[in-house]
Every structure is written in C-alpha cells, then in structure tokens.
C-alpha cells in the first residue's frame, strides 16, 4: 500500500482515480532504470572512445611532427 500511495503521489493527484497496479509500475521503473543504465554506459563508452581518439590523435600529431622535423 505504501508503494501504491507513493506512485499515486509521484504521478500527481489530478488523475489519481485509476489504480495503475504496482507490478505494472515496477516493470516501467525497471525499464526506466535500464534506459538510465544504457545511457550511462553509452556516455562512458563515448568518453572512453573520445579519450583514446584524443590519445591516438595526439600520438599521430607527435609522429607527424617528428617526421616533418
């Protein structure tokens, strides 16, 4: 009951006449969490890739400088 009350508060009292079903809301919370996790992972991956690209870019630059010099 606490969970249900919590979710009804979460979604606002104006349209709280419908009992959304705790199980159904929990599944959506899991989906939301998965989305959050995926977004977090993507962001980390992007950072990692940009970091390695930066390193590679830097080493290429160094190599070019050496060759050119």
């Amino acid at each position: 009951m606490h969970v249900l009350a919590f979710f009804l508060l979460l979604t606002g009292p104006a349209h709280a006449y419908l009992d959304p079903g705790t199980g159904s809301i929990l599944v959506q919370a899991i989906l939301g969490a998965v989305s959050l996790g995926v977004a977090f992972f993507r962001e980390r991956l992007a950072r990692l890739l940009s970091f390695t690209n930066w390193r590679r870019g830097k080493s290429d630059e160094v190599a070019r400088t050496k060759n050119g010099g």
Binding site: T11, G12, L18, P20, L26, A29, G32
Partner: protein, 472 residues
C-alpha cells in the same frame, strides 16, 4: 425503472473520473468539465489538436457549448457536446477483430498525443466505441498534457482490457466474451499469467507485459522499500514509453484469432437447406421491406456472417446492429463489415442470454435490449434456435421479438424443415405448439401481419409484422 431523482442525473457509467460527467438530454450528449480539467481541455481545443484528431477519426467530434445554454446539474466550469454514438456497445460483446481494432485505435491515439506532448490518463476499453465498424475514442477527459518522465498509468488496464482477452483467444482458442462479461474489467493479469506454460514464459513480450507485472504485483509488499527507492530516482524516458506503445501496436497488429475449430455457423450461409431461387425470394422480401420502411437502426437477430445485414444496408437501412451468439461467426461478420465499409456492427450476443444491466448499482453497463430503440428487426432462420434449441415457449419468444422493434421480418422454420429435423433427431419432441398456425395466431394477437410469404418447399415462411399501437 426510471428513478425521478435520476431524471437529470449523469449517465450511470460515467462516475469514475471526478473531473466531469456525461449527460444525455434528448438526443444530445453533453459532458461537464470541472475546474481541475479545464486547462487540459483548453490546451487540446486551442492548440487545434482536438480538431486534427477528430478529422483523423480517432476522437469523437466535440464542440464547446455555452454553459448557460443547457441546464445540467453540478458545478461545471465548462460544457462540451459530443456526437452521439448510434449504439453503445461493450468490449465483452465485441468479436476478436473489433477488440483488436479498438486496441489499435487506443494505441494510435496515445502515440499521436505523445507526439504533441499529450497523453492518456487511463486505458479503458469502454472509452472506445464503434461507428459502424470504425472505432473511435469517446472520453475527452482521458486526454491531458504529458509530464516528462511519467509512467504509463494505464498499462495494467490496457493489458487486462485489451491484451489478455485477445491472447486468450489467440493462444488457447477460448473466446473471452463470457469471462470479460463476468469480470467487467477484463481478464486479470494474475489469472492470465497462471494459464501460461513454461515455454510461453520464454516470450519476452509475455514476460514484459504479463508475467513480470503479475509476479511483481504479488511480491509488491516484500519489494516495497526497494521499489520506492528505485522509482524515486528513475523516470520513464519518453522514448521508452513510445517504444512500449509501438511494441504493443506491432504485436497486436499481427494477432489473429488462431486456434479453435471453425464452428458450423461460419459456413451456414453456404450450407442452408434451401435452394438458390428460394434464397432470391427471401432476399427480395427483405429488400422490399427495407426499401419501404427505410429504418435508421436495424437489429439483425442471429446475423450470422451478415448476408442480410449487408442487404438491409443496400436496400435503405442506415445502420445495422447484428446479434450473433457464436464469436467466430461474429468475427467473420465484423471483418466483412470492415472490408466492405458497411455501417454494420456485429456483436457477440446470445438472444437467450443477452448482456444484462450490471456493474455499480447494476446500472453501470446497460442491458443489450434497452440500450437503443431499434426501428426495425430482422430475425431470419432464427426463432427455431430459441424455440427448439433453448426451449423458449413460442408466445414468450414472439412477445420478446415484437417488443424489440415496431416493425420487422421474422422467419418461421417449420418442423418439416431439415434443420429442425436435425435439431430434433436426438431428443424428444416436446414442442407441441410449434407450428405455423400457432406462430401466425400468436403474432396476429401482438401485431398486424402486413405480409406473409412461404419461401421454401419445406414450408419456411416470412412474416412482416407491424406492432399494434399500445401493445408491448
């Protein structure tokens, strides 16, 4: 029975959402809008989204009405008028393809609303009605603005009122109509989850929409603390909500009635026991009746796959409601109505056990017979199924028929007909008064017999009746 206190009371089925009520005044339908809901209604109308969705056939035509022009009780901040639905039907009466069409209409509307930052507060199948065989959403107050990251509150309701009934037919070959009618709110997640085999647990769609919510629901008390923490931090991204709705749309689009042996009624039109010339004579009689009466709303009792409903529409009737006890046959009739664009709504209704008035105060959902005034009735090759098949006495049967509409065509099928012979083959003939003479005598006491015509060599007879003034 009319209650004097209810003369100006709201429609008995419109009590759940406190943000407004429906009032039926004469032929017009009004909806009150409270101060809590007025902003959402103004947003929908002022933005032009309402007109757009009405044009697409997704929302019932609606226009604002001056609050003082119509007298309705209560404190309404605004008043709107809706187009009247010619015949209100309920999901437990819909054949498979109708419930499927209603589900897809609901999802389509929800997706289109999300595209313009709107959403639906619930997912009741009762909020969809049919104009002919075309579904339309009727509950204006279910539409409101979307709040970023919010959950789909109607998910469980959608699953129980649309998805589990469709899957009961699809996966198990069991028509949902009786179960739905008894439960009114659809087929409960947890009940349906118990039917699924281990192999079906492996379907990710069943897991996501049915098994997981059912399991989490039953364990909710134990998971309360963890769930609170999770939901406090996690919102449902809009893209994920759209993904849920799109996934359901794709799934439901490909659902077909599936298992279940075809019933004899589907092939009935091709296998009836009289010849081509006799059929032509019967069709000419019905066509002539429709052309002369030109009824607005016709009830086709025992409509089968809709041959005579289609004929009625071609011959002058405006709309036909079909009542067919066999769900598979009603489904064939519905698909025919869609394919041919007919203003015809076949419903799963057993005349010996028609939908009752039930729900809250036994008035929330109205019984089939008193839901509309039919202008004409056709009951062709039907009365013997009630009289012989269900033991309904002939006088009761005819009183009920004549009470349904002021004019109509009823076909009497005598005992000499092969169909009745088959029905009596394995049982004692206790139907001593079942004869053309007693049929004509009883009908003659209830109505004028405008025309009588024998249409088959076995003695099938068509009666065109016109109810006497004051009778019934």
């Amino acid at each position: 029975m009319a209650d004097s206190r209810d003369e100006m009371a709201a429609e008995p089925g419109s009590f759940r959402d406190p943000r407004g009520r429906i009032y039926s005044i004469g032929e017009r339908i009004f909806r009150t809008v409270t101060a809590e809901a007025i902003d959402d209604v103004r947003w929908l109308t002022d933005s032009g989204y309402l007109a757009n969705l009405v044009d697409q056939g997704l929302l019932i035509p609606t226009h604002p009405v001056d609050r003082d022009a119509v007298s309705v009780p209560g404190q309404a901040a605004a008043l709107v008028e809706h187009e009247r639905i010619p015949f209100v039907s309920y999901p437990y009466e819909w054949p498979f393809s109708a419930l499927k069409a209603a589900a897809l209409c609901h999802l389509d509307l929800h997706l289109k609303l999300l595209a313009c930052d709107g959403t639906l507060t619930d997912a009741s199948a009762y909020n969809v009605q049919f104009r002919g065989s075309r579904p339309v959403f009727i509950d204006l107050l279910s539409v409101r603005r979307y709040v970023n990251g919010e959950y789909w509150l109607g998910h469980r309701q959608f699953v129980e009122q649309f998805l589990t009934p469709l899957l009961l037919q699809r996966l198990f070959g069991i028509p949902y109509n009786s179960w739905y009618r008894g439960a009114l709110e659809g087929i409960a997640l947890q009940d349906f989850a118990r039917l699924l085999s281990f192999r079906q647990w492996l379907s990710w769609r069943l897991a996501l929409h049915i098994l997981l919510p059912a399991r989490l629901q039953s364990n909710a008390r134990h998971a309360a603390g963890r769930a609170q923490g999770l939901a406090a931090r996690v919102r449902l991204p809009k893209a994920r909500l759209i993904g849920l709705l799109t996934g359901l749309t794709k799934w439901i689009e490909q659902l077909e009635p599936g298992r279940g042996a075809p019933t004899p009624w589907i092939r009935y039109a091709d296998q009836h026991s009289y010849g081509g010339a006799e059929v032509a004579q019967k069709r000419a009689f019905v066509a002539d009746f429709m052309a002369r009466v030109r009824p607005r709303l016709v009830l086709d009792l025992g409509c089968n796959t809709g041959d005579y409903s289609a004929l009625a529409l071609q011959s002058g009737a405006e709309m036909v409601i079909g009542a067919e006890a066999d769900p598979q046959t009603a489904d064939v009739a519905f698909r025919r109505a869609v394919a041919q664009g007919l203003n015809f709504l076949p419903l799963v209704v057993d005349a010996a056990n028609p939908s009752p008035s039930h729900g809250w105060r036994a008035r929330e959902r109205t019984d089939f017979v008193s839901r509309a005034k039919f202008d004409a009735l056709i009951a062709l090759a039907f009365v013997h199924h009630l009289a012989i098949g269900r033991n309904v006495p002939l006088d009761q049967l005819l009183i009920w028929h004549v009470d349904l509409a002021p004019v109509g065509v009823i076909e009497f099928v005598p005992k000499s007909d092969p169909t009745v012979q088959t029905m009596l083959a394995l049982r004692e003939d206790v139907f001593l008064d079942y004869s053309d003479a007693s049929f004509a005598s009883i009908l003659g006491r209830l109505a004028h017999i405008e025309r009588r015509e024998v249409i088959s060599s076995s003695g099938r007879t068509l009666y065109w009746y016109a109810r006497m003034r004051g009778s019934c």
